[in-house]
């Protein structure tokens, strides 16, 4: 609506319950060449597209969020209501197409009545007529039109059947809006009395049409207050709730609409054969079975995790190699200067650092899209709801938290499957506590350095392995504690109570899955990637300036020694020269801003058992936790290696242990710190993007790093008090 409006184009809004095929219809109309964005402030997808009818007239199609009602109990409903009444950022639509699931008409018709009450000319699109007929339902279309007054069109949006009829009906209603007027419901005296009563309460309501009065009466108090300050509170004070079955007027509004709908359906919908258990019911008997269902759930989640954790690695490695090759090219093309350095180590490293997440994100979202599109995600939430509820988490938080064990970035993005913004926020805040794969090189460094010599417990349990497992458990338990604390403080309430429609199982549509992948991939690469690149450049600058390596006389002295001890063109000489290079890099890093920062923070991290060298490593690991390994390698003169593998991590750890910087106790403290702290600015950027606020991102940074410091402090100081070093 904010974009340019082609002259004469009809504004057509699509409205409907979730799972009615509304988006399928939208894709049919617009060819899915949609402008996809988000509504301001919330992650509710917003789609606007163009449609050219068979007779060349133009529509602008607005795909409103799927809702069961318009009384504004959720952000989706608030958006839908605002769009339908022209309060969002454009005019009210000329025609509203209410998409109805033909096999589930009663609940769908409730929304049609609410849309009509807002004064919108409506066309009812009875979608999935094929499924309804297959289930033995015979629907009398002219009868429905007679009952409700607006056009009813039978459709199968998936195949495009009925599209032409829909075009004609919409155009007729656009030309003569009264054709799209739904006959008003005959309200009981109790309702009519209340409407007259509230009419006197506010000038805004004095001349409002009855439908608008109905909306204000039923609307959520806070939302109404937001639209018209004080009005929601006034209405709730003047018309209080009456907690008796038939005494509450807001309930009566719904009861009476359903009474009308039930009466109309009794005349117009007939079963051609007795109702049978659907195939979805039979599939549910297995997939929701207490034993078989749980087992299959574990298999499905195991596969999903395996895919994100392991199958993405070769692709991510490929991305890494590609970026390395690109860097090498740039290195050849450009002269050795600062511009080249910032391009390679700042910009390209940041782009690579973004793209390296893409395989995981795409694989995870392909998995989630399959689960969601098939209808299984709701079943999975049903199975784990009780378990998750104990921590104050909704069942749907399971998938984001599970995938965060591979990487918090895709995990946080997966939180979008949760409808309630508070549930989403809670999940996003605790997701970084899951031990991700980037922590493993750090764990390897420490365990190889200080625990590899320990005798196995009970003869076969490696101490290092046990400690690493302990880190996973630590992160998970802390997440539960954090969730419980936030539920009682920052994000009060129980979260969205489980209230799920279990959609019938459907074959996932490849086009839908690809769409999700495309949207998510582009959004992450561009929006989050920009922040990651900027932060990478800043970190590069910190670790580079003021570019002070070996002083000339030191270099000369070292070179002279090398020349004296090793003849030219021998392997010894090359080794000696490499050693000088390593020493130079070491000095540069120590003198850099990051190096100075490491020294500045030393007093803060000394109580955890870390010296300033580890401090530099902590600064460097902001890019990604595993960067600790190459940074420590540089500091301890162990050279550089593009690919951080276990052997390299063990070698660096060994050097640290030999230098006395790493003891079993300080090593344990370092592992605990890494297990809890949020040092990864990719996660930070993702949280900022997903919560639409740097405030929450900084909050996560503060609470996680505060907790990390505290726990490491306790570990190190307790250990010392017990006599360990």
């Amino acid at each position: 609506m904010a974009e340019s409006r082609p002259p004469g184009a009809l504004e057509v809004a699509l409205c409907g319950n979730p799972n009615t095929g509304k988006t399928t219809l939208y894709n049919q109309l617009t060819g899915a060449r949609a402008h996809v964005g988000n509504y301001p402030g919330i992650t509710v997808d917003r789609r606007v597209g163009e449609h050219t009818c068979a007779n060349d007239s133009q529509w602008r199609v607005h795909d409103l969020p799927g809702t069961y009602s318009l009384t504004a109990h959720s952000p989706e409903e608030e958006i839908a209501h605002q769009a339908l009444t022209g309060r969002l950022d454009g005019p009210a639509p000329d025609v509203v197409v209410v998409v109805l699931d033909a096999s589930n008409l009663a609940r769908n018709l409730l929304l049609l009545l609410q849309v009509a009450e807002l004064g919108c000319p409506a066309v009812a699109a009875l979608n999935m007529m094929d499924a309804a007929q297959a289930a033995g339902l015979a629907v009398d279309l002219p009868g429905l039109r007679q009952q409700f007054g607006c056009p009813f069109v039978a459709m199968v949006a998936r195949t495009g059947q009925g599209l032409l009829e829909l075009e004609q009906a919409v155009q007729q209603v656009a030309a003569q809006p009264e054709l799209g007027r739904v006959t008003p419901t005959l309200w009981s005296p109790a309702v009519l009395q209340t409407l007259e009563q509230i009419r006197q309460l506010h000038p805004l309501l004095a001349d409002a049409p009855p439908g608008e009065l109905l909306w204000w009466l039923a609307a959520d108090r806070l939302v109404a207050d937001h639209l018209q300050p004080g009005l929601g509170s006034l209405l709730h004070a003047q018309v209080p709730r009456q907690p008796q079955a038939d005494g509450d007027v807001r309930r009566l509004l719904v009861h009476e609409r359903y009474a009308r709908i039930d009466a109309a359906l009794a005349e117009t919908v007939r079963r051609t054969r007795p109702q049978q258990r659907s195939s979805s019911d039979r599939v549910d008997d297995v997939l929701l079975h207490p034993v078989a269902g749980v087992a299959l759930f574990l298999v499905a989640m195991g596969l999903l995790f395996q895919a994100v954790f392991a199958w993405a690695t070769p692709v991510a490695d490929g991305v890494g190699e590609l970026m390395a090759a690109l860097s090498a090219q740039v290195q050849q093309w450009l002269p050795d200067n600062l511009l080249r350095d910032v391009l390679i180590d700042g910009v390209l490293a940041g782009v690579g650092g973004t793209l390296v997440f893409l395989p995981q994100i795409l694989i995870l979202f392909a998995g989630i899209a399959l689960l969601e599109d098939s209808g299984y995600l709701s079943r999975a939430a049903f199975l784990v709801d009780r378990l998750m509820a104990r921590a104050g988490l909704p069942g749907k938080a399971f998938v984001p938290l599970l995938s965060s064990h591979a990487c918090a970035v895709p995990g946080i993005l997966a939180a979008r499957t949760m409808a309630d913004p508070r549930d989403r926020l809670l999940t996003v805040l605790i997701a970084p506590l899951m031990s991700c794969s980037a922590r493993l090189p750090v764990y390897t460094l420490v365990t190889a350095a200080v625990f590899s010599g320990s005798a196995p417990l009970l003869g076969f349990l490696s101490v290092g392995g046990l400690i690493v497992a302990g880190m996973y458990i630590l992160g998970f338990l802390l997440a539960l504690v954090a969730a419980a604390v936030f539920r009682r403080t920052l994000i009060p309430g129980q979260g969205a109570p489980l209230l799920l429609e279990m959609p019938p199982y459907r074959w996932p549509r490849p086009r839908n899955v690809l769409r999700v992948l495309w949207d998510r991939g582009i959004d992450f690469t561009i929006q989050t990637g920009a922040t990651i690149v900027a932060l990478t450049v800043v970190l590069w600058a910190l670790m580079t300036f003021p570019r002070q390596g070996l002083a000339d006389h030191e270099r000369a002295a070292l070179t002279a020694t090398a020349h004296a001890t090793a003849a030219a063109h021998t392997p010894e000489r090359a080794k000696a020269e490499a050693a000088i290079q390593a020493r130079d890099a070491q000095v540069r890093l120590e003198n850099s801003l990051a190096g100075q920062l490491g020294k500045v923070i030393e007093p803060a991290i000394q109580p955890l058992g870390f010296d300033w060298r580890i401090g530099i490593g902590l600064v460097g690991s902001l890019a990604a936790r595993e960067v600790l390994v190459p940074v420590m390698a540089q500091i301890y003169g162990r050279g550089s290696q593009g690919d951080v593998d276990d052997a390299f991590a063990a070698d660096v750890g060994g050097a640290m242990a030999k230098a006395g910087a790493l003891t079993p106790l300080s090593g344990l403290s370092l592992m605990v710190f890494f297990a809890v702290a949020m040092q990864c600015f990719n996660t930070l950027a993702t949280i900022a993007r997903e919560t639409r606020s740097w405030r929450w991102a900084l909050f996560a940074l503060t609470y996680l790093n505060g907790a990390a410091w505290l726990l490491s402090f306790v570990v190190y100081q307790t250990g010392r008090a017990l006599g360990y070093t």
Partner: protein
């Protein structure tokens, strides 16, 4: 079990202290029993949502299955499957249809 709850029998020593008929809710309704909704005794926006989803007085309802360990309850209402958690289920009062057989 269901019918005992509906009509406590006389020789039950506790029955005198109890109300004449124990109110049946979705939390106590046996799986597979046909019933109708009586009232949604949740007077917040969640209760409103349940009513908007079709749990109006008189609407036929059936418990399809229950989740593990006191988990959610899946019901069929107005031709679709809906899950509600146990707390909500306890607030949804139902009336079982006439005893069959």
């Amino acid at each position: 079990m269901l019918y005992q709850e509906l009509e406590p029998v006389g020789d039950n020593a506790q029955s005198a202290a109890r109300p004449a008929a124990v109110q049946l809710t979705l939390a106590t309704l046996a799986v597979g029993t046909a019933a109708t909704v009586q009232a949604v005794q949740l007077w917040d926006s969640l209760g409103d949502r349940l009513v908007e989803l079709g749990l109006t007085p008189g609407a036929p309802i059936e418990v399809l299955r229950r989740g593990l360990f006191g988990g959610p309850v899946q019901v069929r209402i107005r031709d679709f499957a809906l899950s509600v958690n146990r707390l909500q289920a306890q607030a949804i009062q139902v009336r079982a249809e006439a005893v069959r057989g």
